[in-house]
């Protein structure tokens, strides 16, 4: 134990299961809990939709809400939950010295404008002129800001006053891994005392599905748990809307202000397998070695997406270690892209804090785990590229 250890003092979660650690714990520990699914709106795709959210609870000004689309609102909201949970929200001294690393994709485009342009393109050959004509007259000026990747962080600064520093990492699950890894490295080296880190994903928009489906990654047909989608129609990924933010803090800093500590962050490791060369299997095995797994049974919160190749590789590597009791949470939340790794870390920290594991989310593929976990592994093997995992330990 060292004063520069990285501990988790705040968790903000939103998914189809609800909001906050308590709601998630309650549902995820109900044996046989059935996921919340939306099967009609985006058929043939199933998604896990956002729950009802009262944005006012975390974004007090209507003017601020209007400047954002759902993705930024969701991230700003989840960030607010984490800051509240850590006792930082509203504390000027702590907010203005807090660093921030956000994992982000892009925001929502105007679907109506795009659809109108595409429809008109069927009868026009001068499509570039058509584009100028429509975009100059029909785009809402401020929509650009709702789309910019770094404006989730920008909105968190404006709404929650987090202004120590602000960085946005991009790149699907890997961005979430790097965000946590970089934040932890800053704290360990004494560069930061407390860092807000996390991301959000809003899947209820056709472009967000298109981002997967341009490579045929989405599962079609009846819903199945994340480990059961091989051989089904489509690519295996079922997406979900959600967000996960963590307050990471230097142990000494957290203790000096008397905060509750959920768990400590152990090694966070990341990699980039050259998957075309068949390196994914060996990369996951190498990461498992670097993560410093303790002896004995180990609860493993897997961020597996369901994407056939990546999920097969991850399952094989995890199954090869009989000590690992795996829980694939995408079965219940769907895949949340940039938020996937922060979400996995949050679930791991909650299990440590509550001294209990999660029941199998899919009893046919996941074995029982009945201990009080002292350490939990969290993984995020990207559906297309980039890999990461981290060991979360009792503080």
């Amino acid at each position: 134990m060292s004063s520069h250890d990285v501990v988790i003092t705040g968790i903000g979660l939103v998914s189809s299961l609800g909001e906050g650690p308590d709601a998630h714990w309650q549902k995820l520990t109900q044996p046989g809990f059935q996921p919340v699914l939306e099967t009609e709106r985006f058929a043939p795709y199933t998604i896990h939709p956002l729950p009802e959210i009262d944005w006012n609870l975390q974004i007090a000004k209507r003017g601020d809400q209007r400047q954002m689309e759902t993705w930024q609102r969701l991230g700003t909201y989840a960030a607010g939950l984490a800051l509240d949970d850590a006792g930082i929200k509203g504390n000027d001294e702590l907010s203005t010295t807090m660093d921030m690393v956000v994992a982000a994709g892009g925001g929502e485009r105007d679907e109506a404008v795009d659809a109108a342009i595409l429809a008109a393109s069927e009868s026009r050959n001068d499509r570039d002129v058509l584009l100028n004509e429509k975009l100059t007259t029909e785009l809402r000026p401020t929509l650009f800001l709702a789309q910019l990747s770094n404006l989730l962080a920008g909105n968190i600064s404006i709404v929650h006053k987090v202004t120590g520093s602000s960085r946005t990492f991009m790149g699907e699950e890997g961005a979430g891994v790097s965000a946590v890894e970089t934040a932890a490295a800053r704290i360990r080296s004494g560069q930061s005392t407390h860092v807000l880190v996390g991301g959000a994903f809003q899947t209820e928009h056709s472009d967000m599905l298109l981002g997967y489906e341009l490579a045929g990654y989405l599962h079609r047909g009846p819903w199945k748990p994340v480990w059961q989608r091989q051989g089904s129609e489509g690519g295996g990924v079922v997406t979900g809307s959600g967000g996960a933010f963590l307050v990471l803090e230097q142990r000494e800093h957290a203790e000096s202000r008397g905060r509750r500590i959920y768990a400590e962050l152990g090694p966070i490791v990341s990699g980039r397998a050259r998957r075309r060369l068949g390196e994914l299997d060996s990369e996951i095995v190498a990461l498992l070695k670097q993560a410093g797994l303790p002896a004995g049974e180990l609860l493993t919160i897997s961020g597996a997406s369901g994407a056939h190749a990546a999920t097969t590789a991850e399952k094989a590597a995890l199954d090869a270690n009989p000590a690992l009791a795996v829980r694939g949470f995408s079965t219940l939340t769907g895949h949340m892209k940039e938020a996937q790794f922060p979400f996995a870390v949050a679930l791991a920290a909650m299990a440590i804090d509550r001294k209990a594991g999660y029941p199998a989310f899919d009893a046919s593929a996941e074995k029982p785990f009945d201990e009080a976990p002292k350490a939990v592994l969290a993984t995020a093997i990207g559906y297309h590229q980039f890999e990461g995992m981290g060991l979360i330990k009792a503080a």
Binding site: S166, T168, G174, L210, F386
Partner: protein, 423 residues
């Protein structure tokens, strides 16, 4: 002998390779010749029709093989070209770099050309349903990869043999500086001996131009394109959208000297501060920009008296230049009116995600060449902004230290302090 540790006991970070591409050309030689002769790279837009557009000029890079292939391909080629130059100058293995990659690049979206071609490939249904149905039938990953935020860095990592999971980042117009800061920090923490930091932006599409236009951010002085970008002038009316790339090879001074590398400069300090005032406007008292400058000085262990030249953010928007002047005059006091402060953007426009890296490259060259590039188009000074902008003509001057500013939408403020020689 040079000290290998800085004032805080961290490894000193040296620059051993520099690469750059802007609308002025490929590589340091061409860029420097143009920049120091006060030449502008701003020209009429030819990449797409300009019907209905209020702004019809830009600093696009139109001379690369990927210039017409879309934002993702062009951004990759810009990054690859600058990084190749930097790694070659550093005399490192261009296929096995062996350190981490930090890439500042624009957020990606499906290009309209691809959107149109997917949509018009059949007529079975309509709207988003048709796009999704056609998309899942694609046999190639080419279009998919242009929509993945990590793909450009993934390709660069393959190309140069960088180590580990590459980080792609966006801090809007401060991105290039943030990429450098991340590299500096990784070396200082002892995670690596060297890092490759790149800022690249090839995203000057019609839609990008229209979006900035709708926010009234762009100059509409279309008639004489090379005169449109006029930082610190009274009649400045917005920035000029541009493309480019800058790449730096960063190394711990100790490792660089041990392998006999030429030291091109020192990254002495990085500072940042977020602004919570507004999505596009800075706090009226410029306090976040002031804090970022001061944080960079503290990080470098320098007092304000030790900065000899400022490579300004200087976008040529009414708002930025006023705020930047306020922040500089607050930090440097009366000395600011006699300190050289110039804006490369007067010649190359605003290269957005690349700007911080491009301008760090030019800052380092300013010190090495003992020549300060001018702020061109300074014919009508803003009386409210009293600065020595190195007006219109280059100036020969010994420059030992530079402050380079980068400020962006979303309250992003990042400043870099560089030095010619190790202490």
């Amino acid at each position: 002998m040079a000290k290998f540790k800085d004032h805080m006991g961290r490894p000193v970070v040296a620059v051993t390779g520099i690469g750059v591409v802007t609308s002025l050309g490929v590589g340091k030689t061409d860029n420097w010749a143009a920049l120091t002769s006060g030449k502008s790279g701003i020209h009429p837009i030819t990449r797409f029709p300009v019907d209905h557009l209020n702004t019809r000029i830009s600093g696009m890079v139109d001379f690369l093989p990927s210039s017409l292939k879309g934002a993702s391909h062009l951004t990759y080629e810009l990054a690859e070209t600058a990084a190749r130059e930097a790694i070659s100058e550093a005399a490192l293995d261009s296929g096995d770099f062996g350190g981490p990659l930090f890439l500042a690049s624009p957020p990606v979206e499906l290009d309209w050309a691809d959107r149109f071609s997917l949509y018009n490939s059949d007529k079975k249904d309509g709207g988003a349903e048709r796009l999704l149905r056609v998309a899942r039938g694609l046999k190639e990953l080419d279009i998919f990869e242009t929509t993945q935020f990590g793909s450009i860095a993934d390709r660069l990592a393959d190309r140069f043999g960088t180590r580990g999971l590459p980080i792609t980042l966006s801090t809007a117009c401060a991105s290039g500086a943030t990429a450098i800061q991340l590299g500096v920090e990784a070396i200082r923490r002892g995670e690596c001996d060297k890092a490759l930091s790149i800022g690249a932006d090839g995203s000057a599409t019609a839609e990008a131009l229209i979006r900035f236009s709708l926010l009234s951010a762009l100059s509409t002085h279309n008639d004489i394109p090379e005169k449109a970008s006029k930082p610190f002038s009274k009649d400045r009316d917005g920035f000029v959208l541009a493309e480019g790339s800058g790449a730096l090879v960063l190394e711990s001074l100790e490792a660089a000297l041990a392998r006999g590398a030429t030291i091109l400069g020192i990254m002495s300090g990085c500072g940042e501060k977020a602004d919570d005032f507004h999505r596009t406007r800075s706090k009226p008292d410029a306090s976040p920009a002031i804090a970022a400058v001061r944080a960079a000085l503290v990080d470098a262990g320098m007092s304000e008296d030790e900065i000899e030249y400022v490579n300004a953010h200087g976008t040529s928007t009414p708002e930025n230049d006023k705020m930047e002047h306020l922040s500089l005059s607050t930090v440097f006091g009366e000395r600011i009116s006699s300190m050289p402060v110039s804006s490369n953007k007067s010649m190359i426009g605003h290269t957005l995600s690349a700007a911080g890296a491009v301008e760090a490259a030019f800052s380092l060259m300013t010190m090495r060449e003992s020549v300060i590039p001018p702020t061109i188009n300074y014919d009508n000074p803003d009386p409210a902004i009293v600065l020595d902008v190195v007006p219109n003509k280059k100036r020969n001057a010994e420059v030992g230290t530079v402050l380079s500013n980068s400020f962006g939408f979303g309250g992003q403020n990042t400043c870099l302090v560089m030095a010619r020689e190790p202490v």
